[in-house]
């Protein structure tokens, strides 16, 4: 075959097939690229949405977990303006951080953030919660619906922390009698206020929106009537004991028991032979304090109080209601408040609130509690 003819043949072979194949390949490549791009884009969008949803769910779960595991005693000791942080990793990739900030004495802000450990993608949400209002209409170291006797060695004080202010050292009903030892000079006598609100049973029998009967049912410690006790902080195996004789440590000397503030209920008379404790003490009968005793919180009695020993210090508030709704019964001597030894009563709203901290759970603020932060 000559060179001419072989060149012509090669030229003919090159013609249509090559163009067709090239066109086909280009179209295939474009189609594959478009499909891959579309799939990857769709996957990226779906992944982004799924990640965002997962993080938001994790952040909200952390928020509500913080609310459900709320430590009332711990939060009640948290200073206004301070923030407590906690971090958790709920699975291998998502880390959540929760901040609890005390904004006022009653309002807290809980902020939770969920973030992937491998990236900076995060979601952050916030919830405002509020402690139930301790609806005490009068504020004083001693609020009494029965007659009160104050001895020469009794001192009244007011908390220096800015929790609240007292209406007066002693708040009485219009009918209740007040006898102050003559040895106390007028300038040193406790301030006294007579207020009809002090004649309202709800002032005594309702604590933080909870009535006496319910409080009695949900008491952390229920002692027998006519009991004698010397409450003392007790630590067992490095943990604060939950025994009936352990009412926590109001002095903060034993860290394990600093947050124990039980609700103690006694269905009859009670004699305290000394010791220390904190929380809320509800006594259906007569309360006698017969030894050196330090208490932080609230004491409510229905048959009077008397002190039989020196070195008694109570910080918070003491309420003395009468056993009967008949105001004339209030003058029965066993119902009186008789503070005749070295006793200091300090009005402290902080300590009074801390006393109810063990069962005081916050609730979310109305209407605009939740917010997503971008």
């Amino acid at each position: 075959m000559s060179e001419y003819s072989s060149a012509r043949e090669r030229s003919n072979h090159r013609g249509v097939a090559l163009v067709a194949v090239l066109y086909f390949l280009v179209v295939c490549a474009l189609t594959i690229a478009a499909v891959v791009f579309a799939q990857r884009s769709a996957k990226r969008n779906a992944l982004s949405t799924a990640n965002g949803t997962q993080l938001l769910a994790a952040a909200e779960a952390a928020l509500h977990s913080a609310l459900s595991s709320w430590s009332s005693a711990e939060r009640s000791r948290q200073a206004v303006g301070s923030t407590a942080a906690s971090t958790a990793t709920n699975n291998a990739s998502v880390r959540t951080t929760t901040y609890v900030t005390r904004l006022t004495s009653r309002v807290f802000s809980i902020t939770s953030e969920a973030m992937f450990a491998s990236s900076n993608v995060a979601r952050r949400v916030s919830l405002l919660v509020r402690l139930p209002f301790d609806a005490r209409p009068v504020r004083g170291a001693l609020i009494s619906a029965v007659d009160v006797t104050i001895g020469a060695q009794v001192r009244f004080a007011t908390d220096s922390t800015p929790c609240d202010t007292a209406s007066a050292a002693v708040v009485l009903t219009p009918n209740a009698g007040l006898a102050i030892d003559a040895d106390i000079p007028p300038a040193s006598q406790p301030s006294m206020l007579r207020d009809s609100i002090a004649d309202d049973s709800s002032t005594y029998l309702r604590v933080a929106d909870t009535w006496w009967s319910e409080l009695a049912q949900r008491a952390d410690i229920r002692l027998a009537a006519d009991a004698r006790i010397t409450p003392t902080p007790i630590v067992v195996a490095g943990k604060c004991s939950t025994s009936d004789a352990n009412w926590g440590d109001p002095l903060g000397l034993i860290a394990e028991c600093a947050h124990r503030a039980p609700l103690v209920y006694v269905p009859g008379d009670l004699t305290i032979d000394g010791g220390a404790g904190q929380g809320v003490l509800l006594v259906e009968g007569h309360l006698a304090i017969a030894g050196p005793f330090t208490f932080s919180g609230q004491i409510v009695t229905r048959h009077g109080i008397e002190t039989l020993a020196d070195n008694i210090a109570i910080s918070g508030a003491v309420y003395a209601w009468r056993s009967s709704s008949d105001a004339s019964v209030s003058h029965a001597i066993t119902n009186d408040v008789r503070l005749t030894h070295a006793t200091t009563l300090r009005y402290s709203a902080c300590d009074a609130r801390h006393g109810i901290a063990s069962w005081l759970q916050p609730r979310r603020v109305r209407e605009r509690a939740w917010s997503e932060l971008f």
Partner: protein
């Protein structure tokens, strides 16, 4: 020598060969073009599907952000303005802590955003600040109109520790000038809101879109509508691109209900239509539970 061969002896194709070659070439070309066209259409379809998916995803991303934090009890959904074709609400644009305050100016530390990022409040004249007031009678949110926001020097003395500085932007404080005189206590929380309106509307191209109208605090009316996503199927043709409202028990509300305070869940039914051909259709229901329904 190449041209020494006589003409009659030159090699060539017979008519039959040429015809067969042409037929085969036509067949091959036809096949190639058919396949190519089909692939091209598939590619075009994928692009349309992608566009539809992106439009739906855009709506799904945008809507819940503004709906989740609504407070129906606080009046965030305008009375009578929860319709099947539109929804008028208050958008929360800023959250902040009051660090100090006078009757006419509040100095605030905004909440930090996700990842601890600083957030510029972006307050405009006419925006509303909701101030959380907490007293013995309980808590309530008080509405205060704002005039402007400007940067403020100094730190927030209320936030006392480093952990708090991870929640509030204490290094970038803002002064909010008030239109209304109002006393705020230190430690109070504010939420700043501004009206917005989502609507399904028909654009000049004849298609339906989900649009947003923002509030103009100076003219006291909504600005022109801006498209967010679409096109969607028309709300009126029964295919149902629309908003639906439910209470906490799952009972639905009629469009334009006056009882917007009871709304607990909002659903947006989106039926996407990419263009005139409408060869690709997809739908999505965006369900949003209102976190502040109580």
């Amino acid at each position: 020598m190449l041209i020494s061969r006589p003409f009659g002896a030159r090699g060539g194709f017979t008519l039959v060969e040429v015809s067969i070659a042409l037929v085969l070439a036509a067949l091959v070309l036809g096949l190639v073009f058919a396949v190519g066209r089909r692939l091209g259409k598939q590619s075009s379809g994928e692009a349309e599907r992608l566009a539809v998916s992106e439009q739906l995803m855009a709506a799904a991303e945008v809507l819940p952000i503004d709906l989740r934090g609504l407070s129906p009890l606080g009046g965030d959904i305008a009375l009578g303005e929860a319709r099947d074709s539109s929804l008028q609400l208050r958008q929360t644009i800023a959250n902040a802590l009051v660090c100090s305050a006078s009757a006419s100016t509040w100095t605030v530390a905004p909440y930090l955003g996700a990842g601890g990022r600083s957030v510029v409040p972006g307050v405009q004249d006419g925006d509303t600040a909701w101030l959380l007031s907490d007293d013995d009678a309980g808590e309530h949110w008080r509405a205060v109109r704002l005039r402007a926001a400007r940067r403020a020097p100094g730190g927030c003395s209320l936030v006392t520790d480093a952990e708090g500085a991870k929640v509030f932007d204490v290094t970038h404080q803002w002064s909010l000038d008030l239109r209304d005189s109002a006393i705020a206590s230190t430690g109070a929380i504010i939420r700043v809101t501004r009206p917005i309106r989502f609507s399904f509307y028909r654009a000049n191209d004849g298609h339906w879109y989900l649009g947003l109208r923002t509030w103009n605090g100076l003219s006291l009316e909504f600005n022109g509508i801006q498209p967010l996503s679409g096109p969607f199927g028309p709300p009126s043709d029964g295919r149902g691109t629309r908003f639906i409202y439910f209470d906490s028990n799952g009972a639905g509300f009629a469009s334009g209900t006056a009882d917007t305070r009871g709304i607990a869940r909002i659903e947006a039914l989106l039926h996407a239509e990419p263009g005139d051909s409408a060869s690709v259709r997809d739908s999505l229901t965006v369900v949003t539970a209102l976190r502040n329904r109580r």
